[in-house]
Amino acid sequence: MALGGGYFKTTYASDLALVDTRLRRVALAALVAALLVLPRLTSSFVLDLAAQVALAAIGALALNVLTGLAGQISLGHAGFICAGAFTTAALVEYGVRSPWAALAGAAAVGAALGLMVGIPSLRLRGLYLALGTLAMHHVVLYVASELQSRWGANTGYSIPPPRVGALTLRGTVTWYYVLTGLAALTLCFAANLQRSRAGRAWMAIRDREIAAASVGIDVARYKVLAFVCSSMVTSVAGALFAFQRGFVSVEAFGFLVTVEYIAMIIIGGLGSALGAVLGAAFVTLLPYVIDALVAGLKLQAGAEYYLFPAKFGAFGLLMALFLVFEPQGLVGIWRRVRNWFLLWPFRYRPLRSTS
């Protein structure tokens, strides 16, 4: 099997390529083909799940840029999502017909919020920064609930399906394609960002801020840039959430949502774009898997009541187990398994590759 060594490149082009060997190209083509034909094969329930995973992946990739790459802790992720969703809702409510304009508005608000949180991050570190973002989350939620109670119908805003050109985005299949496509785009963006100047600067800042500054990285600029990038993408994810659901209410953006996103990037593996996607799939699908398991058990009536707290507890337990026993996350497990098969009968690579 040729997976590429990571350290033996003969041309500049092969160094730049994201997918560098034939096996990888074939696997990627097979994956894309499978995603394209999926709507013909499965029920709309599965498609809806896939769309949810894709949406969560966009948010998780954005959080991964901030926390995994730049090492800046955010407890306000749900606040940024909420900001995007409510900006979209408010813009649509006041007659902005074009979804592009709404998305751009959400991105602008997200970037502005990122700037507002990013600037104190120059002074604050670690936990103190996390607290600032937590406070920001509550302030955003307050503004949103004021909007909702003053101008929206009291329970929330409803949003008509957006029209792009002649096409109205409505129905499970359409949204599956839209969200999966956008998630793939975000994945490419995140993977390339990681390899770019900014990504390398962020990783240097994450690993040792003083050392990063001493090799000429403008720490202040890159920190703020990480916040702006991350919150912009997060806001767009919020806007997409609003369009897909067609309904926005403050209740959907509690602190638990933040915890879920943090769980995604931790369970997936911090600092890895693939990990963010795997984690998003894991955390999104976990409740449904538990549902299926319980349905298979055929419990007596009345047991459904315990399902919700049981799911909630399983989620907390898994997160704790990953934190304590597998800090590398799913990506770490995947790499270990892959390397075991690749290297068998040997135990180590001759040289450590970067992939």
Binding site: R125, Y128, A135, A310, F312, G316, A320
Partner: protein, 291 residues
């Protein structure tokens, strides 16, 4: 005016009880315990469980519930937090988040999410009391203020006079030096967690007897967190003025602003503090550089 002051004092006492838990754990191990709000619900539900199953009146039920909560805090340290020693602080903070999730799930599993009133179960009334100056507060309001005062007095005496308390201060001040003098850190951390759970549970016992008991009360924990930061995360003495300040702002916004805004006012205080003086009113300045 007297009513505003009285209400402020009551709210401040509740926040101070909760914030003491944050500060105790933070001073000992630099870990922020984001599950402190769930310690509050835990205390309330322990009281409910003891009252429902054991009975024996408030004189027995309240101390038993408080002791069980302290024991839970000790176990939490042993099972969840001790394995995190040596891991990055942020990972430990996330473990406290998952702890909050687990506690909440366990509470809903065992007790369901109905609203409960443990005080009724114990046969306690909550008659209003008229204070000099015309303010009216409930009996449990008075008890909350008295408990907070007693807890803080006890903590100050403990930290100032007892050998264990002095060790705790030493460990909080210079961890390395303290460990070289043979201070057993894990014992201190376990004690800090037990005390934090105890103070949170006291807040929960009082609040649930006074108002109501439901799993979503853990929001109060986040508000008290703003209090801990405004006072300075490593300063137990700072909690009291900070609690009064934050509570006063909150009570005034309820009275003259709107209730939605009052819910976020502690977080606005927190943001303002982070911008102006991130180490808090009475915190140590180097603290910020160390984390």
């Amino acid at each position: 005016m007297a009513q505003v002051l009285a209400t402020t004092l009551v709210v401040a006492s509740l926040y101070a009880l909760l914030a003491a838990g944050y500060v105790l754990v933070y001073r000992a191990s630099r870990v922020l315990n984001l599950a402190q709000g769930d310690m509050l619900t835990l205390g309330g539900y322990l009281l409910f469980a003891v009252a429902a199953n054991v009975g024996g009146g408030p004189v027995l039920a309240i101390p038993v519930a408080a002791a069980l909560a302290a024991l839970t805090g000790f176990l939490i340290y042993l099972v969840l937090m001790r394995p995190m020693a040596g891991h990055p602080v942020f990972a430990a903070v996330l473990v406290t988040v998952t702890l909050g999730i687990l506690l909440r799930a366990a509470i809903v599993l065992v007790f369901t999410d109905q609203i409960r009133h443990p005080a009724q179960l114990l046969g306690l009334g909550n008659p209003p009391r008229r204070l000099p100056g015309g303010a009216v507060v409930s009996t449990f309001d008075v008890l909350t203020v008295l408990t907070a005062a007693a807890l803080f007095a006890g903590l100050f005496l403990f930290l100032r006079l007892s050998p264990l308390g002095i060790q705790m201060r030493a460990a909080g001040e210079r961890a390395l030096l303290a460990s070289q003098r043979g201070i057993d850190f894990h014992r201190l951390f376990a004690l800090a967690w037990a005390l934090a759970a105890l103070s949170g549970a006291l807040a929960g016992i009082l609040y649930s007897s006074n108002v109501r008991l439901e799993p979503s009360l853990d929001v109060l924990g986040l508000k008290a967190f703003a209090v801990a930061l405004v006072g300075g995360l490593d300063s137990l003495g700072g909690v009291i003025p900070a609690a009064i300040l934050v509570a006063l702002i909150e009570v005034l916004t309820v009275r003259y602003g709107n209730p939605l805004l009052s819910d976020v006012s502690p977080f606005l205080c927190l943001l303002a503090m982070l911008l102006v003086r991130p180490w808090g009113l009475f915190g140590t300045r180097e603290e910020l550089e160390r984390v």
